[in-house]
């Protein structure tokens, strides 16, 4: 970067804080053990060095975990809600106590900037347990009947973009409602979930209430196809979500899906542009854009498009890409080689289809999985980069003239997870918010999350909500 004003001395967080161990084990029926599957090395995406070895689960471990969860279900669901709640409060507190350790571990395993792991992932995970802990003895007031019952054993499959936070989103409401769970973290990011297992064991939860299995898609499939699971909750791609839906067809297994997105972030000519630029940056470069609700399509009103794109480019030139453990880093590493290849393929398609590609001057580390923040202008709705979820730090800019056209373009996608609106006009915010077919609408802000706030999609972004009172419904036989 040319501007020396923005040279910072390195401020790395210490890697020792993660208390990284040579190997991690799966958690079944209250005990830690090596899985019967393959032992794999989990990689630090920032330097491609192995972090630790994880003995993955095999099909027999899935059986054991489900049997344990089934056995634990009756006594766990029979506990008074206030007692279940106290276990969850303990977990929330333990996550807070070990917050710094978990943040560093998350950053190492996932590649996300320590600033985000420390300020977003870990505090929100603790808050999620704290929030649902309080529901455990109040379920009769949640609007699902006077004495709603749990569903049973929940199989939960989560992605690699927010490993601990997604585990919290899944486990906390399930346990509060009296279910028991078998959770599978993503293959590339198992570590914080396995430390969470430690926290759960130390919190004294009865064996079998929570089981955590590391493994790849085959283990996810084994969970979905198991047959003695009453509910599947999946967060991941729309493609896999559809496969799960088909697999469960004709069964009584309940399902909730939180799938992909291609959110429109809509900027009107009366928006405060400097604030909008910050929101756009947060919308697409938060977590390297590896966010299902990322604001990956920027819709700008034509009259301010040039001005906004210029301001955005100036801002992107100040983004610091690099060592995720550096506290000044804004954009970290892409999670895996496979994801990096996917981002490259789609951005190549963007160039080939005629969009204009721009990136700030930026030195990337030599090793690791890196992708420079990228903006495409001159994007049409037909381009793949405007239609397909890239799941990377790539923004597609389209323009519109009227609010109607903005709505038309924003909704012109099979997805419907989130949307953003930037304008100073209150009536326009409310009108746009009601016309956008998306589960979460951020007006004059973007990518805000809270345990009290329901999250989930319309259309092919899935069904069911996580968070808030609404999030209980997915785990109650209502």
């Amino acid at each position: 970067m040319a501007d020396k004003l923005f040279e910072y001395a390195p401020a790395p967080e210490s890697r020792d804080i993660a208390r990284l161990r040579p190997s991690y084990q799966i958690f079944v029926n209250g005990g830690f053990r090596d899985g019967s599957g393959e032992a794999i090395k989990t990689i630090n995406p920032a330097d491609e060095e192995p972090l630790a070895e994880v003995a993955e689960a095999g099909p027999s471990d899935v059986d054991d975990a489900v049997t344990a969860a089934r056995g634990a279900f009756r006594p766990w669901s029979a506990l008074p809600g206030r007692e279940r709640g106290k276990y969850l409060f303990r977990i929330a507190r333990a996550i807070q106590e070990r917050g710094r350790e978990l943040a560093v571990l998350e950053s190492l395993d996932n590649g996300k900037p320590i600033r985000e792991a420390r300020d977003v992932d870990i505090p929100l995970a603790a808050a999620h347990f704290f929030y649902y802990a309080g529901w455990a003895d109040k379920l009769g007031y949640a609007g699902f009947g006077p004495s709603p019952r749990p569903i049973g054993v929940a199989g939960q499959i989560i992605p690699w973009n927010f490993p601990l936070l997604m585990a919290a989103w899944k486990i906390a409401p399930a346990l509060a409602c009296g279910n028991t769970v078998v959770l599978k973290p993503a293959e590339t990011t198992p570590l914080t979930a396995l430390v969470l297992a430690e926290i759960i064991a130390e919190a004294g939860l009865p064996p079998g209430v929570v089981n955590i299995l590391a493994g790849g898609p085959a283990i996810g499939q084994a969970i979905v196809e198991h047959g003695d699971i009453d509910k599947i909750a999946f967060t991941g791609s729309t493609e896999v979500g559809k496969i799960i839906r088909r697999t469960l067809a004709g069964t009584s297994t309940r399902l909730s899906l939180e799938l992909g997105g291609k959110a429109a972030n809509i900027v009107f000519d009366d928006a405060p542009l400097d604030q909008a630029v910050e929101g756009i940056v947060n919308g697409i470069f938060f977590n390297q854009g590896q966010v299902c609700c990322a604001g990956s399509r920027l819709l700008v009103q034509e009259s301010v498009a040039d001005e906004l794109v210029a301001a955005l480019q100036r801002r992107l030139a100040t983004l610091r890409v690099g060592d995720p453990l550096d506290k000044n880093t804004d954009v970290g590493a892409i999670n895996s080689a496979a994801q990096l290849a996917r981002i490259r393929e789609l951005t190549e398609a963007g160039v080939q289809e005629g969009a204009t590609r721009w990136s700030p001057p930026c030195e990337l580390p030599e090793r690791g999985y890196w992708f420079v923040p990228t903006v495409f202008t001159g994007v049409s709705q037909a381009h793949r980069i405007a239609r397909e979820e890239i799941f990377g730090p790539v923004l597609s800019v389209l323009t519109f003239r009227t609010p109607d056209e903005a709505v038309e373009k924003a909704n012109n996608t099979p997805y419907g997870l989130s949307a953003g609106i930037w304008t100073d006009k209150g009536s326009r915010i409310l009108s746009m918010a009601s016309r956008l077919r998306a589960g979460v609408v951020w007006a004059n802000t973007f990518n805000r999350f809270d345990p009290a706030s329901p999250f989930g999609g319309f259309k092919e972004s899935g069904f069911g909500r996580e968070g808030g009172r609404h999030g209980l419904e997915a785990y109650l036989d209502a």
């Binding site: 899906l257 918010a433 802000t445 809270d450 706030s453 069904f463």
Partner: protein, 306 residues
């Protein structure tokens, strides 16, 4: 496919269609489809004989085709924007108007239900009364459901955050096979109460009360296309409905368990919401489960500041 060429008019027609005892010959009704507010025959030209519970011919009903179904989805999609943005108060008024219209034709429906289901006039009357009351029940929900299902969320930051239910979109309804009117109303009314539009495949063997209900809907200020009713063969139409990419949700109430799996697989193509309840007692308190099955929760954030 049922034989549509037979013309075996019975000597003793059931009461809703029987010739009057006076010397005047009755004007019989042609039972047709209801699509986009109009009453077309099937574009396929097909019809099928509908018989009473005791086997007497009641009428030849239109046998809807795949093309009719697609036309109905198109009409429902077109009607969605305006119906879903109609005020909840106004939707409640329209639904109440349906109850008024149905009540005004109570005797006709008692006869049709009695013929279709082979129940006594008294039992049929009870069902019609329940059906009328069900419209009133849901009419009242229209402007209350969002208050019950939505609300503000106390997030940990300077943001105003609220959630509210929004209609899922176009809902495909495979209506119950047994309960020709009360069952139909019980599955249809909650879908449109929250602002969805509907494509309904009626009871296959008992379609006539549904075809007559279309006339009630058409005279109730319900905009054309909000409800589309197709009579015909459920197993023929349901795969197209379940697989249609512009249908957002499907209600499998009228599909036997054995046939549900294939429809759920087809529904996965566009992540349709699938509602597949067990046996239902249509006279019981309907609760809110059919309202919540076809809404999406939308959450809106806005910063608080000066």
């Amino acid at each position: 496919m049922p034989d549509s060429t037979s013309d075996s008019t019975s000597d003793s027609m059931p009461h809703s269609t029987s010739d009057s005892t006076s010397d005047r010959l009755r004007v019989r009704k042609t039972y047709k489809l209801y699509i986009a507010g109009a009453f077309p025959r099937s574009e396929s030209g097909r019809s099928y004989p509908v018989r009473s519970a005791t086997g007497e011919l009641l009428a030849h009903a239109a046998q809807a085709s795949r093309k009719d179904l697609r036309d109905a989805v198109l009409a429902a999609r077109k009607a969605f924007a305006s119906w879903s943005s109609t005020t909840a108060y106004n939707r409640g008024q329209v639904l109440y108007r349906v109850a008024e219209m149905l009540d005004g034709r109570r005797d006709q429906f008692v006869g049709e239900v009695s013929d279709a289901e082979g129940v006594s006039t008294k039992a049929a009357a009870t069902q019609v009364d329940h059906a009328i009351d069900r419209w009133v029940y849901y009419a009242g929900w229209a402007d209350k459901y969002a208050q019950v299902a939505g609300g503000t969320n106390p997030v940990a930051g300077p943001y105003f955050n609220f959630s509210l239910p929004e209609p899922t979109g176009v809902v495909g309804v495979l209506a119950p096979q047994d309960s020709s009117l009360l069952g139909l109303v019980s599955v249809l009314a909650p879908v449109v109460t929250t602002g969805n539009t509907a494509v309904v495949v009626t009871s296959e063997d008992r379609p006539l009360p549904a075809a007559s209900l279309a006339e009630v809907l058409a005279t109730s200020d319900l905009p054309g296309g909000v409800v589309n009713l197709l009579t015909g063969v459920t197993a023929e139409l349901s795969p197209w409905l379940a697989g249609h990419r512009d249908v957002n949700a499907i209600d499998l109430t009228g599909v036997p368990n054995a046939d549900r799996k294939a429809l759920q697989i087809a529904a996965a193509d566009n992540v349709k919401r699938v509602y597949a309840p067990g046996p239902v007692d249509w006279s019981a308190d309907p609760g809110t489960s059919r309202l919540s099955a076809f809404v999406e929760t939308k959450t809106v954030w806005h910063p608080i500041g000066v």
